[in-house]
Amino acid sequence: MHPLAISHYTLVNALGRGTKSTLDALQAGQSGLRQCNFMDATIDTYIGRVDGIENEPVVARLREFDCRNNRLAMLGLAADGFESAVAAARARYGAHRVGVILGTSTSGILETELAYRQRDAAGRLPAQFNYRTTHENYCVTDFVRRYLKLQGCAFTISTACSSSAKVFASASRLITSGLCDAAVVGGIDSLCMTTLYGFSSLEIVSATPCRPADAERNGISIGEAAGFALLERCEEDSADVPCLLGYGESSDAYHMSSPHPEGAGARLAMLRALQRGGLEPAQIDYINLHGTATRANDRAEDIAVSGLFGNRTPCSSTKGWTGHTLGAAGITEAAIACLCLQENFLPGSLNTVTVDPEFSMNVLLENRNQKNRRVLSNSFGFGGSNVSLVFGYRAA
């Protein structure tokens, strides 16, 4: 495929607002996880919560979209000068030529959860509740598109925890087909009762901060995040701009909530990403794992990664810092991959003490400084939805 330039990107998560907050916390080994204090949830777990959302409503002109998820989206757009970068792209290409493709798994379902608690005696929802603008899965894309004054192709991808990785593949196809000249991609998921109680019912929520790849790992820490990237065709002089070099998608065709035990779908996604980028496994300097810290995910991912890359390529999960941000995990880790490229740095696997002795992949336990040309990032979701992305610099 033709590489696409990541000409701008931004992140907001439990580590703070803007990519620098994430980079500083990664380099300092400082986790964003805290004991669950979200509303009246009584789950014994740690969460990656973004501070201040409660006090920052969305802009007045879009007030009907006001909800936790859209507020979080707006915090993302406001960080890292992202809005101005998009405004410049809009001026350059025209509003109809810039697409918006975003991932979310639960959108603003928190609003519906709260509205259900407030049903009247006849079972009716409160009058001020607006499903279309605060919960419906497209509403966050609608909100971002209006906020950025864009008029190009737009849709929400909702494939659970691979949602905001798949947006890169869709944007690449829209640009390749000539329907867009540029695209804002990203993902937003916010804390809600559905995921806290839902993952808890599956018994895959950890009572301690999550420990990816650890022999004692016992589940995920749920986080919330928003992230965005501006994708454009590469300019001639963009040798120092991180690019999307390849993407690979696959389905497990195995089970709704358990990964294929040998990681067959994960392996296929990684293989396709390498093939699309014209790359060999040895050309990847670092793998940012999906690494949720469940028993099953990490085991299957180890088999897939070590089967394809052997036991040398350094890899780690960054979910010990951010928590598992679900539909925002893909964009969060895509942005971390770009930070690794630009800062010549690799994050170790935070909270991991002893790597599972059955694992063969090379799990980094400590941060490392090294020059990186290409980074692969994995995102896998319920329903067996797998995506691998390769970010890096174009061949010199």
Partner: protein, 266 residues
């Protein structure tokens, strides 16, 4: 861009397959719109079929219908499933459970609540490891799904199974959400013209230049406006005709797609 249609399925009030709807469009056979068919989910294995929701059954029924007409193998097809609201009953039951003091969410119900549960069940039932996606764009979900499926097929040289489906929410969300009737439409799209039923040329442009196509029949125009999946009716009407046709679908408030439907040449 030009994409070929290899198989079509449709499901809605008065029709449970493409043949019924097609002959209505071609010859005026009456549609009994009081008849609301019940999806069977017959492509699912027994245990899953018994547990599957109406949304999942509808999705796999239409996918199976288009696949069969195409004569292609499920394992070769990438899938794009699209639905405005996903599995409406499951979302209702979860919000209902979370409003109780116990907040007991069933684990099965939770994993069924993800928007991509229908395409997950399809890939498990069909054994396809090809890419699968699940997307939405409110009332423009059909147009967005069509463009996603067509660009994927052309950019990656793979046949794509598109399935767009909507089922109404139960109360209390029923009152506040669009969609009074279940509706489903599915197409197998391919860049390769061999075995093509029709060629579609898709162009995109601002709303200022293109007017959205409506249905002449007031009953069908009401149905078109009912859900995001039923917004496909003008295109289905065009695909039913032997002559070349052109329709305009709304992609977004300010964006339209123009689809020119042609019969394949000899």
């Amino acid at each position: 861009m030009i994409i070929h249609v290899k198989g079509i399925a449709a499901f809605g009030p008065g029709f449970e397959n493409w043949d019924t709807l097609r002959s209505h469009f071609r010859t005026g056979t009456a549609l009994n719109t009081d008849f609301v068919p019940v999806p069977s989910g017959s492509a699912l294995p027994g245990a899953e079929r018994r547990r599957a929701s109406a949304t999942v059954r509808l999705a796999v029924d239409i996918a199976q219908g288009a696949l069969q007409q195409s004569g292609m193998k499920a394992k070769d097809l990438a899938t794009v499933f699209a639905s405005s609201n996903g599995d409406t009953n499951t979302i209702h039951h979860i919000c209902d459970a979370l409003a109780t003091a116990e907040r007991c969410v069933s684990p099965t119900r939770f994993h069924n609540s993800v928007h991509n549960a229908p395409v997950g069940y399809w890939s498990i039932a069909s054994g396809s490891m090809q890419p699968s996606s699940s997307l939405c764009a409110m009332s423009n979900t059909f147009a967005a799904g069509l463009v996603e499926a067509a660009t994927q097929s052309l950019a990656e040289e793979v046949a794509v199974l598109l399935a767009v489906f909507d089922t109404p929410f139960p109360e209390p969300l029923y009152q506040l959400t669009p969609g009074r009737q279940p509706f489903g439409v599915s197409m197998v799209l391919d860049a390769d013209p061999r075995g093509s039923l029709a060629a579609m040329t898709i162009d995109i442009g601002p709303d200022t230049q293109l007017v959205t196509t409506k249905m002449n029949d007031p009953l069908l125009e009401n149905l078109r406006r009912d859900s995001s999946a039923s917004r496909s009716l003008p295109l289905l009407a065009a695909l039913a005709q032997p002559m070349a046709q052109q329709v305009v679908l709304r992609y977004a408030e300010d964006l339209r797609i123009k689809v020119s439907v042609d019969r394949p040449g000899p």
